[in-house]
């Protein structure tokens, strides 16, 4: 589904990703862990098409298409979703209106019929039930005045409505208390399916207690230096990233 090969990217003239390769198949949940500055968020931003990230080498294909050649909105329509580390507040734009505009823009791009307001409302009601989100959030402006937890839950709610094929969660667990973390995790788990893949970018292991990954990768200095199953995350938790750093010379030579 997603194939990243030897990806190099720079931000403001600084090389951040230095030869990252990763393959994600439908139904898989991958966790990408790493210390601060390893390039975790850069990966999410490059995949979703944010300006200011220059890919200098390598390729990313999504279902056989060159993902890097697509505009952000076309990536979304193709089925890529990024849950933001810092969701943006948009005063004056109603959450429901925004979500319907987004869904219909994607459907239009894919040649599907747009949903009218009744159909959309029905869909939203179903998703609300799954996400355990109060519909009060829907009547407010997008993320405006939301608490940190509400913002993250709103990201997951958007994901539920937009039903992407690949969801990239950029530090979705950061800044959440344990209850909010549980709610967000439940939302993610409810969306797991054989057709949908997840890429969870995280600094901490604790999210992985609630959303169990199939694969864990360690990102350091712009490359994946270690991959394994979920036990790798536990090892990291136990020994810290310093443990990886010590091993890195060996990994680099391999």
């Amino acid at each position: 589904m997603l194939k990243i090969e030897n990806l190099h990217a720079r931000v403001e003239g600084k090389d951040i990703l230095k030869g990252l390769s990763l393959t994600v198949n439908p139904g898989e949940v991958h966790a990408i862990m790493g210390p601060n500055g390893a390039g975790k968020s850069t990966l999410g931003n490059v995949l979703s098409g944010r300006d200011g990230y220059e890919v200098t080498q390598g390729s990313v294909t999504f279902e056989g298409r060159d993902l890097l050649a697509l505009d952000p909105e076309d990536r979304a329509a193709a089925g890529v979703f990024l849950a933001f580390q810092y969701p943006v507040e948009i005063p004056g734009v109603n959450n429901t209106y925004f979500l319907r505009a987004a869904l219909n823009a994607q459907r239009k791009q894919r040649g599907e019929a747009e949903l009218d307001s009744m159909q959309f409302l029905k869909l939203v009601r179903e998703k609300l039930k799954v996400m355990q989100i109060s519909d009060e959030l829907l009547h407010r402006a997008v993320n405006e005045g939301f608490s940190g937890g509400e913002k993250k839950r709103n990201e997951i709610f958007q994901m539920a409505v937009l039903e992407p094929k690949l969801a990239i969660l950029d530090e979705t667990d950061s800044g959440l208390d344990i209850d909010a973390l549980k709610q967000v995790s439940q939302g993610v788990n409810a969306l797991r399916s054989p057709d949908r893949a997840f890429l969870m970018i995280t600094h901490y292991q604790r999210l992985l207690d609630y959303v169990q990954p199939d694969f864990v990768h360690v990102l350091a200095d712009g490359r994946i230096i270690e991959s394994g199953d979920k036990s790798l995350a536990l090892k990291l938790e136990e020994h810290g990233y310093a443990w990886i750093a010590e091993r890195e010379p060996a990994g680099a030579q391999a």
């Binding site: 979703s48 098409g49 944010r50 300006d51 505009d71 952000p72 909105e73 990536r75 979304a76 329509a77 979703f81 990024l82 933001f84 969701p87 943006v88 948009i90 005063p91 004056g92 734009v93 925004f98 979500l99 505009a101 987004a102 869904l103 823009a105 994607q106 791009q109 402006a141 997008v142 958007q158 937009l162």
Partner: protein, 437 residues
Amino acid sequence: MNQQPARPPLLESLLDAPLPQGAAWLDAIRRENLDALIATGLPDTRNEAWKYTALRSLAQRRFVEGDAQAATRDIDATALSLPGVAGPRLVFVNGMFRADLSQLDALPDGLEVLPLSRALAQDDESLRFALSHRYRDVADAFTQLNAAYAQDGVVLRVAAGAVIEQPVHFSFIGAAAEQAAWHLRHVIALGDGARLNLVEHHLGLGDAQQLATSVADIVLGERAMLDMTLLQQAAADASLVRRTSVQLGVAAHATLHVVELGGALVRHDLHAVIKGDNARLDTRGVFALRGRQHVDTQLSIRHDALNSASESIWRGVADQRSRGVFRGAIVVAEGADGSDASLSNKNLLLSTQAEIDTKPELEIYADEVKAAHGATVGQLDERALFYLRSRGIPLAEARSLLTAAFCRAVFASMPNEALRDHISQLLLLQLPADQVA
């Protein structure tokens, strides 16, 4: 006598028209204002009030006073109606009152409204005070022109205590008549405790190079309440110069919503004087410009009484090669202790070739005053744009969504929901959904 400045074609073509004739007192006022205009000429950009609006190109044009066919031009009355506005209506076509298009039957108790032309024909003595102003400042050139030549407009009075529920609709139509110039003069008074809802609509039907001036004097008595919406949709080639003066009595409350969408060269002087203690003024305004439009708003508010309040929220959006100007001047006069004045002006540039000039001014001569003002000019938030796009909303749509949201702060307080929705739609239509900066 000073030597008169050389007259530009604009004045040469207009000032040779004979002055209207009527009551002797009015004829004299017309003459004096005309003489003042002849003596001072048009302001140039060295004049502070016209610093950002050059009249050079307008001054080179020639116009004809009035439109001989104004009474008979075929107008589709349904095109004039506005959602949520179904009360009494006065329609003027190219400066002339049109009874056939207006609706003045069965006026509610306490409301007196008639065209100025009719009031003058009846030699309405009560107008004498309102129309006796002599404008002397060169900055008021168009007001002088208006005072000299205006023959029609609206005279509206609300009796003390009367509550007029249905919005009264003024419709000023510019119908295609090349080079026509016209002038409208309005006198509006709300008695003590009176309430009025007013919608002023400037609408261009058919394009033509025209010049219109409009001068309105609005006086609110004690505890009077006015809710007024001014929607400007002049034709693309039209020049429109307006002056709205509002005076508030004790504990009066005026709320104004101003929407500027049309016109080529548009100027609006909105002057308010808070004369009565505990009075309140709320102004909200927005312009959304494209092409080569030039729209200049000069807001001035003077607090002249105790414990008075004013809150002003204005937004501007300029795209393509358009230019927006906003000057917001608040004066809290000596003795106006306990006043609370705030002004916010935020602007959005959608193109590198557009320009917005904003100038907030605050002068305080009283004690115990709360005052806040701020002005910004910026661009669309790139983070918000990316957020919308990452959810699948195409760039052009994302831009127009954010721009409309930016303007929304101006309407949140508009009580007439149907009219508010209509104006939101008009704004969306005016905003570009089809191009990238």
